[in-house]
Amino acid sequence: MLRADAEKQVRAVERTCRGLNLLREDYRREMFAKLEKVAHSTITCTLSGDWRTPYHELRQTVLEALFTPEGATRHGAPRQYETIGEAWSDVAVLLDMRAGCGADFNDIICAHPFDGQQREYRCPRCGQTGPFTSPYFELTEQ
């Protein structure tokens, strides 16, 4: 495959930078670890013949445990979840809130060899850093 054709295949999928995380990395790790313990400790319902086992106020409870200063009161309607996984995903996404950027990440991919190797990148627009892995193509010379 020619390099130009490989690059065309890469760019056939739009990839954009999501921007910097709004929370510090060490804080997020601490919250994820806390989330696991809180999520399970608040589940009190038991299996029954009705498979739609509700997890009342799980999100409210988890958010209160994670983010409410001691002595404060949160307001708002709780959301019911049917599975722990659903609740986990919802809160996990909250912990990965990002500022937004939109820079074309394919420019970063195409600036490197298509050798399947892992690399670190820095977004030229927002400064976010992280790992990525170049695609592997068996290229031929033009």
Partner: protein
């Protein structure tokens, strides 16, 4: 009615290796999902169905010493069946045959719903089973899942996939070059050709920016274990977002 979040479903691929020599990837397996909640503490399991049901359920996992073990029980309809073996973690859960209407729920003692097997499906599973780090070299492993737009008529437009959360920073994801693909690799060390992998900071659009009704898009998952990495039991979260009428 618009596409609901519940209609965007993650499924596994047909080749789901539990070793480093078997094939990985392939086409979608619409009977198995990579979604459940892992045990946080050693526990026996409890099994129940949503209706009359006498199918057998087999759960594989590890005992408290870390050794592999499995347990097979026979469902008793809506009456909870208690398992006898203590699990440190669950790896797979399979029913012997699909049910037309019944949903099987598996829970941990006092924990509740760990995972469910819906009608017409046969199980759920953990990814990267038996994936060990090496004392001296980095190990990269590739497995594959799919997103299905299960809405019968509507197209998910502006469809974007992302790795929404990766607490252990071990995962990158790469979207397949085409929808409904069946690309596989010889084993999970083999690099799937032409796939770019990114972490939590990058959105990837579904090819043609939309996912049609009943279409699937493959997502390769790259797990990186560095030399000498300690044992790890963690999760990651994929997200598919878009718009519909």
């Amino acid at each position: 009615m618009s596409i609901s979040a519940a209609e965007l479903i993650t499924y596994g691929s047909l080749s789901r290796p539990q070793d480093d020599v078997s094939a990985s990837g392939g086409a979608v397996d619409l009977q198995n999902r990579p979604v459940f909640t892992q045990l946080l503490a050693n526990s026996t399991l409890a099994y129940v169905s949503s209706a009359a049901d006498t199918r057998q359920v087999t759960v594989t996992g590890r005992d408290t010493t870390g050794a592999p073990q499995s347990e097979t029980i026979t469902l008793n309809g809506v009456t909870v069946v208690s398992g006898a073996k203590v699990f440190e973690r669950i790896l797979t859960a399979q029913v012997a045959a699909t049910g037309a209407t019944q949903t099987v729920t598996i829970g941990g003692s006092g924990v509740g719903n760990l995972g469910q097997i819906p009608p017409k499906e046969t199980g759920f599973f953990c990814m990267f089973i038996n994936s060990a780090s090496d004392p001296s070299v980095q190990k990269l492993r590739y497995e594959k899942v799919f997103w299905l737009n299960s809405d019968p008529t509507l197209t998910l437009t502006s469809a974007v996939a992302q790795l929404a959360a990766d607490p252990s920073s071990k995962i990158q994801v790469g979207i397949s070059a085409s929808k409904n693909d069946s690309l596989s690799v010889a084993n999970r060390f083999a690099v799937p050709g032409g796939i770019s992998f990114v972490g939590v900071g990058v959105n990837q659009s579904v090819p043609t920016n939309q996912l049609e009704a009943a279409a699937v898009i493959g997502v390769w998952i790259l797990q990186t274990l560095n030399a000498g990495d300690a044992p790890l039991k963690s999760t990651f979260t994929l997200q598919l977002a878009g718009s519909s009428i």
